[in-house]
């Protein structure tokens, strides 16, 4: 009998706690709306609690914007556009955006900790991914502000006016940067709504914007749930809607603006296929699987949530994956050793749990590593399902959590057909050592972003966005400027 050797991760890998400190800043008790350059109490008179999903403690009260608040924000943005921002040269606009980038870097640690406190994500990720990438987006687009004519040869670019932007709860600061930076570079003013569960870092960004001396009204920040968002979408003086979120909500927004002159971009859901060929470097591929589905607790629209493993290496890949899952630390997001933090909200945990039950009832085989979970807060063990079929709901529907559906394949044609057999088309991954196979695969996969021998990589210089029902328009790169401009 063949002997198997396995590293025992459970024996002496008990890492001492290494929590990031939270003493270098103080959260305010309440966060008011940021309208026309000032923090103002909401006309709605309403505030909601925002909590730390890792321990369910209230972090702060946040103002909820109603129709009157949104109207004030849009008016401020319009006035700023008409009187200042549209008259400013690209060079000067760019300098403001550079300032924002620099101040984010200076306050990076504060941003990272607050992002983790409010969202439940591991500090390792907010510190190394969210915050540096957010700063990088402002840096990248700052430089475009005075070079727009080069981006679109033979056309005359002009700003659209007021951009209404709605961002999701999974990467609040980063999504804010993705939306605000290109909008400002193109010469628009902004009304942006944070998500209902993770509003705090956007208000830190408001402080940065104040500190940078941006003219009042150029960026306005509001909070609330879907109803607040609908007031932005329906406001007659908004020229463009930029939305990141679920496909279902994206469709509701598009219904609301059908027949109006409002422009839109939609970054919607996904169900990415991550494809492992037998000739891939399997250990690296397993890292890619882990990064693909467990990054940010799987709260990622482009997460590699459908895994296709070539039949000949299925057993070994799944075994390696299970071993690797046993080495993941689930727990306190502020701990620098933590790999998987808290699920963002009770509601989201319920959704994920529902899908795990669906997976089991559909006959798929579930595996979760044994690990202790904190008693308070919202937690979900990393979960994989094998014996999944193409029609199972866990391989068709977006779960937005650390749940992976694994299937096998034999031939290239088969896996392309399976991978493309979804209404979504946001991202995909391919793992093989063979260059010709990579190019064949990456050109045939119907998805806006394709990672070969890597996964979940983002960069401000790189366009991101979907095919099919994953939405339209691109963010990042010069492709990300076009949706904020019109041409004569």
């Amino acid at each position: 009998m063949k002997k198997t050797h396995k590293i025992d991760f459970s024996s002496d890998w008990n890492l001492a706690p290494a929590p990031e400190s939270t003493t270098h800043f103080k959260l305010k008790d309440t966060y008011d709306l940021f309208i026309n350059g000032k923090f103002v109490a909401p006309k709605s008179g309403k505030y909601f609690d925002t909590i730390n999903p890792a321990n369910e403690k209230v972090l702060a009260k946040v103002a909820e914007a109603n129709e009157a608040d949104i109207d004030l924000a849009v008016k401020a943005a319009r006035k700023a556009y008409d009187t200042i921002w549209s008259k400013l040269s690209g060079k000067e606009r760019g300098k403001y955006i550079y300032r924002i980038a620099r101040i984010i870097q200076e306050r990076a640690r504060e941003f990272a900790v607050v992002e983790t406190l409010n969202g439940g994500k591991a500090i390792r990720e907010s510190r190394d991914v969210d915050v540096p990438l957010a700063a990088a987006h402002f840096f990248y687009y700052a430089g475009w502000a005075d070079k727009l004519e080069y981006a679109f040869p033979n056309r005359k670019p002009k700003a659209l006016g007021v951009a209404g932007q709605i961002i999701p709860w999974n990467f609040p600061l980063l999504m804010g940067a993705w939306k605000i930076a290109p909008a400002l570079a193109a010469g628009n003013t902004v009304v942006i709504k944070s998500s209902e569960t993770t509003p705090l870092t956007l208000y830190l960004l408001a402080e940065v914007i104040q500190e940078a001396g941006l003219p009042a009204g150029v960026v306005n920040i509001v909070s609330g749930a879907g109803l607040t968002g609908s007031h932005i979408v329906n406001h007659p003086d908004v020229n463009k809607i930029a939305f990141t979120g679920s496909t279902a909500v994206g469709k509701i927004i598009m219904k609301a603006i059908a027949g109006t002159p409002k422009k839109s971009t939609m970054e919607l859901g996904g169900k990415a296929a991550n494809i492992i060929f037998e000739d891939a470097a399997l250990d690296q591929a397993v890292e890619g699987i882990v990064n693909g589905i467990f990054f940010n607790q799987g709260h990622v629209c482009c997460a590699g949530s459908r895994l296709y493993v070539q039949e000949s290496v299925f057993d070994v890949v799944v075994q390696k994956l299970k071993d690797r899952m046993n080495s993941l630390n689930v727990g306190d997001p502020l701990d620098k050793n933590t790999d998987i933090g808290a699920i963002n909200s009770k509601k989201q945990l319920d959704t994920i749990s529902k899908y795990i039950e669906i997976g089991k009832s559909e006959g798929a085989e579930m595996y979760q590593p044994t690990c202790d979970l904190p008693s308070k807060g919202f937690w979900c063990r990393p979960t994989i399902f094998t014996k999944v079929s193409q029609s199972n709901r866990i391989s068709q529907e977006e779960i937005f959590g650390p749940v992976l559906a694994i299937q096998t394949f034999r031939t290239v044609d088969e896996v392309i057909e399976k991978a493309n057999n979804t209404p979504y088309g946001l991202s995909a991954g391919v793992w093989t050592d063979k260059g010709s196979k990579i190019f064949n695969m990456t050109s045939q996969l119907r998805a806006g972003v394709v990672w070969a021998n890597t996964f979940n990589k983002f960069d401000p210089a790189s366009p991101f966005g979907g095919y099919k029902e994953s939405g339209f328009g691109r963010e990042g790169g010069l492709h990300g400027l076009e949706p904020y401009l019109k041409f004569e």
Binding site: A136, P153, N154, R155, T247, G250, K251, M254, K255, A258, G259, M266, L268, P423, I438, T442, S443, A447, G448, V449, V450, W451, A452, N453, T454, K457, D459, A461, S462, P463, F464, G465, Y467, K468, E469, G471, F472, R474, G477, L478, H479, F487
Partner: protein, 293 residues
């Protein structure tokens, strides 16, 4: 004894052949109160058949080499050049002066050649190699959106139709086109040009009929990836935008204007029906590598 004229039967064009409409109905084309021809009144079923043909042709067409697509578009122009007289005659029959008709046919040929030339160039124009901050090679390139449903311009019989079709197929898409309702003659004859000019069957499908009758299917069909509407009818536009949401069709609106204008020659019109795909691959460490120049 004088010869009895043979009247042409106008049919529709689906998947490279010329069926009669499934509906078994027709409508008259009337110029100056006189019926000049009877046209097929295409049904929803005709449209569905055309979408199936367009979908089947899509993979093959988009995977042809750009050089080959360039030549095929040029070939359409060549065949059209050879049948100039017929188109001039048909345009005149639809009430256009001879001089203007000649201009329109000439420009239609030239416009096909214009777009033929873009086939193997627009990708270079809209592609980028992205300088990402890490050890990755990362590039973005346009890819065809897929099957495009087209409401052709109502005011232009040939030139508008040719312009829209050329900009769509140059980018590797296939299409199902509803011709101008009252200026439909040239559309059918243009289908004959396509059929004899190396364009694979199904790449372009041309129906005749009524916009209002087919609107719902055009905008709602789940296997259509994009819809082009040429016109200003606010009601139509709202309906199209609303119905297209179901599968997030790309909705492109263009005016039904003067197709003699140069603005109808632009690579950005090709780009309207393109998706941008970004591909990442690791490279060995760049910064800090030991070797160098």
């Amino acid at each position: 004894m004088s010869r009895i004229e043979v009247l042409k039967t106008y049919k529709i064009y689906i998947g490279g052949s010329f069926p009669r409409t499934e509906s078994g109905r027709y409508y008259p084309l009337i110029v100056n109160k006189k019926t000049v021809a009877n046209m097929c009144l295409s049904s929803v079923k005709d449209f569905r058949n055309a979408v199936v043909a367009a979908r089947n042709a899509q993979g093959g067409w988009s995977h042809k080499t750009a050089y080959n697509r360039n030549q095929i578009l040029y070939r359409i122009a060549e065949v059209l050049e050879g049948r100039k007289a017929q188109f001039v005659e048909e345009l005149e029959l639809q009430g256009i002066s001879k001089a203007k008709a000649q201009q329109e046919v000439d420009l239609s040929i030239d416009r096909l050649i214009y777009y033929a030339g873009w086939c193997d160039k627009y990708t270079q124009l809209f592609s980028t190699v992205n300088p990402v901050s890490g050890s990755f090679f990362n590039f973005s390139a346009p890819e065809p959106t897929g099957v495009v449903a087209v409401f052709a311009p109502q005011q232009s019989s040939l030139l508008g139709l040719v312009t829209q079709i050329a900009s769509i197929i140059a980018g590797g898409n296939t299409c199902v086109v509803l011709a101008s309702e009252q200026l439909a003659l040239c559309a059918v004859t243009f289908a004959e040009v396509l059929a004899t000019s190396d364009v694979p069957g199904g790449v372009v499908n041309i129906l005749t009929g009524n916009q209002t009758e087919l609107l719902t299917q055009f905008a709602a069909h789940k296997d259509v990836n994009a819809i082009l509407y040429c016109g200003k009818d606010a009601d139509m536009i709202a309906k199209i935008q609303d119905l297209a949401i179901e599968n997030l069709k790309r909705v492109v609106l263009r005016e039904d204007g003067d197709y003699f204008d140069d603005k109808h020659e632009s690579p950005y019109l090709i780009f309207d029906f393109q998706e941008t795909k970004t591909t990442w691959h690791p490279i060995e460490v760049i910064a800090g590598a030991g070797s160098g120049y």
